[in-house]
Amino acid sequence: MQNVVSKLDAVIQKYHGKKGALIPLMQEVQDLEGYLSHNTMQYLSEQTNVPVAEIFGVATFYSMFRLKAQGRHVIRICKGTACHVSGANGILYSLRENLQLEPGEETTTDGNFTLVEVACLGCCSLAPVIMIDDQTFGTLTPEAIPSILDKFAFAGDTV
């Protein structure tokens, strides 16, 4: 914990006194733990004198900010127009099926994957597309999903 606090302090220091720094500051803070916990936002508020309500307001407004812990790998499924007309729903169905996610659930029970729907990844010519971490997979079929997920399978203990 002390380790995280000192890293937090270093990030806060980096943006100290810069105008309009709240969003990049929060982005960097989020990178430390993968999400913004209530404690982190509270600490950020104390250190920067920005009201915690404002920090929470920004965190809930932008889709990149996460208030819950994430899986080891983040799967982004593109729900853009080109992907939609090319069968993104079938890909989503296959993903949820293979990850055994209950309706409304985003993170697998072993904590290995988090599934997020995004508006457009800008690779429309490869539709339908998913992105796992920073790798993009295009021209997908539902049948192709299991072998892609296998590449990211977690070998160690469950979390």
């Binding site: 105008k19 309009g20 720094a21 709240l22 969003i23 990049p24 929060m26 982005q27 404002e54 307001g57 920004v58 407004f61 932008y62 889709s63 990149m64 900010f65 729900k79 853009g80 127009t81 080109a82 992907c83 939609h84 007309v85 090319s86 079938g90 169905y93 296959s94 099926e97 995004v118 508006a119 457009c120 990844l121 800008g122 690779c123 429309c124 010519s125 490869l126 539709a127 597309v129 920073d134 993009t136 997979f137 295009g138 539902p142």
Partner: protein, 589 residues
């Protein structure tokens, strides 16, 4: 060192198609064979459907560009090329002689995309070699008013979608009184189906920097921001490199090129909110707040970022500036129509053969864009509609395909030019489902400030969902139209004002599809799963068991050589049996 250069396209689309492996394979091969040739990275030439793409140049055969390259095929092609033999692999463009897609490029005019996929975007000398930063030198010698007049005379209109005169906008910021002014580049390209800005940022970042420096000088700004969406990590990386190089070379920073003009440029990463493409919301976001739009006036030119006069243009607009300064307003006006001059970049996607980026002079017909430049339909099903302008736009039917590409003609159809996303749809696309898709998007992205946008879009979405589930009533259509009118009137910003467009245009051109869903409980395109039913035709089924093995929920029964049967209660209507059956025995209806 020989003049032979191997260029591998490694923009986002190329990487997703496997360009990374191709690049490493060539790299290995060069060191194994101790070849005296150079290997460089470039960005996207726009032919995404041919990725990975590699260009070879420097031999007598001239530049040869190959498509659908693999780590194996590239080595064979490279050997052929170096030996002076004809290339046996897929050649898509050739400087000398014929190639599959030579004609596709001939129908285009590339101003904004002039360097994309041609230069190495991480190299400032590459950009300078194409005449980069000469426009900045010219501009710094000009009177500031003259620069603005040139842009005004060129007829350039904002490429972000609304199409306001760029020169006039610059004039407002120039005339605004203030000790401090800002210029901003809107790179928050959020329309699903549009990726023009990503390609320019990834492929030619210096052209944006140069355009912004010229604009800042003309308007009297000394600081600028590029607001780029965080979903584009490669674009941000290339911009950072470009800014650092330009600062070092004296194109940005203090006393640019020895003059007393100084200009600092920063990158702001977006955090994921579509509404931030709206200029007042974008500025709130740069300031570190929730990105919610504010009432205009005051316009940003009077009171923008931190209350200072601010000018905002989008990526494509900025990318035009240096070309106009170099070549003059008259040269720019040669292209396009009287009221919409120059060129427009489109992102072609959906059921079109040549998906990717193209740039055409304004004034060509949409039909030519789709069939001549885009190569026509990819699927066997016939054309149904083309969606222009993303969630703010609309669907144009076959009958209106001869509409020309200019702001005013497209507006008349009920769609908008928008930022340039063009998604082609075939008869297998349900237009009610498409309208529902866009409403779902705008409803999610509404910032919540205006009641009509926040609740009105939700009501519209509910009605559309009911219709696609076969629960629609005839009076729903009237309610949709009333809600649409009120949302347009009662919303502060472009998001709400244009949100009903996808519904209005589909109601206008594809009303019979709505009626089929409502009155006959039938989805003519066979997309809306609640209205779908898959059945096996006993006459045609030979009992091969292929469908039963493919079914993800095991709802197909029947033994070998017996007619199969689908259990309708268990069927999830995924269509796997339909696409698997080789005998046409599975019927969809």
């Amino acid at each position: 060192m020989s003049n032979v250069v191997v260029k591998v396209g490694v923009a986002s689309c190329g990487l997703a198609a496997g360009a990374g492996d191709v690049f490493s394979r060539v790299q290995e091969y060069i060191s194994e064979q101790k070849l005296d040739i150079s290997l460089v990275k470039t960005a996207c030439i726009g032919m995404c459907f041919e990725e990975p793409i590699v260009a070879l140049s420097g031999m007598d055969a001239g530049t040869i560009i190959m498509g659908k390259v693999t780590a194996d095929s590239i080595i064979e092609s490279l050997d052929d090329y170096l030996a002076g033999n004809p290339i046996r692999q897929r050649v898509i463009l050739a400087e000398k002689g014929d190639a599959i897609h030579n004609e596709l490029l001939a129908n285009q005019k590339r101003i904004v995309l002039r360097n994309c996929g041609v230069i190495n975007p991480e190299s400032l000398p590459d950009y300078e070699a194409t005449g980069g930063y000469t426009a900045l030198r010219i501009a710094l010698e000009m009177e500031r008013e003259d620069i603005i007049t040139t842009i005004k005379d060129s007829g350039l209109r904002g490429r972000g979608g609304a199409g306001f005169s760029t020169g006039m906008k610059w004039g407002f910021a120039f005339n605004a009184v203030g000790d401090k002014k800002y210029v901003v580049c809107n790179a928050d390209e959020g329309d699903p189906g549009a990726f023009m800005d990503r390609s320019v940022l990834e492929g030619d970042p210096h052209s944006i920097l140069e355009g912004m420096a010229i604009g800042a000088f003309a308007m009297g700004a000394d600081e600028g921001y590029i607001y780029c969406r965080a979903e584009y990590p490669l674009a941000i990386k290339h911009l950072k490199i470009a800014i650092a190089d330009a600062e070092q070379k004296g194109y940005l920073g203090n006393n640019i090129l020895g003059t007393d003009f100084s200009f600092d440029l920063h990158i702001k990463e977006g955090a994921g909110a579509f509404v931030c493409g709206e200029e007042t919301a974008l500025m709130a976001s740069i300031e570190g707040k929730r990105g919610m739009p504010t009432i205009r006036p005051p316009f940003p030119a009077e009171s923008g970022l931190w209350g200072k006069p601010t000018n905002i243009n989008n990526v494509e607009t900025w990318a035009n500036i240096s070309w106009i300064i170099n070549n003059g307003a008259d040269a720019y006006k040669q292209y396009g129509t009287e009221k919409s001059t120059g060129t427009k970049v489109f992102a072609l996607a959906g059921k079109i053969k040549n998906s990717g980026l193209i740039e055409v002079p304004m004034g060509v017909t949409i039909r030519d864009v789709i069939y001549k430049v885009g190569g026509g339909m990819k699927t066997e099903l016939p054309f149904k509609a083309v969606q222009l302008g993303g969630p703010s736009g609309g669907c144009i039917p076959e009958a209106l395909l001869d509409t020309i590409v200019d702001y005013d003609s497209i507006n008349k159809t009920g769609a908008i030019m928008g930022s340039g996303g063009m998604v082609v749809m075939d008869q297998g696309t349900c237009m009610v489902d498409v309208a529902r898709f866009f409403l779902n998007f705008t409803q999610n992205e509404s910032c919540g400030k205006c009641t009509f946008c926040r609740i009105g879009t939700r009501r519209m979405l509910e009605i559309l969902t009911n219709i696609t589930e076969g629960k629609g009533k005839l009076e729903d259509i009237t309610t949709l139209e009333q809600l649409a009118t009120n949302i347009i009137k009662g919303s502060l910003c472009g998001l709400g004002q244009t949100a009903p467009n996808p519904v209005l245009t589909t109601l206008k051109y594809f009303r019979d599809e709505y009626l089929a869903h409502i009155e006959e409980k039938r989805c003519p395109a066979g997309v809306c799963t609640s209205l779908l039913r898959y059945e096996i035709d006993p006459e045609k089924c030979i009992g091969c068991t292929a469908c039963a093995r493919k079914c993800p929920v095991n709802c197909i029964s029947g033994s070998v050589k017996q007619v199969h049967n689908i259990d309708q209660d268990l069927c999830i209507k995924c269509g796997a049996c339909y696409s698997t059956c080789k005998f046409g025995a599975v019927k969809k209806g």
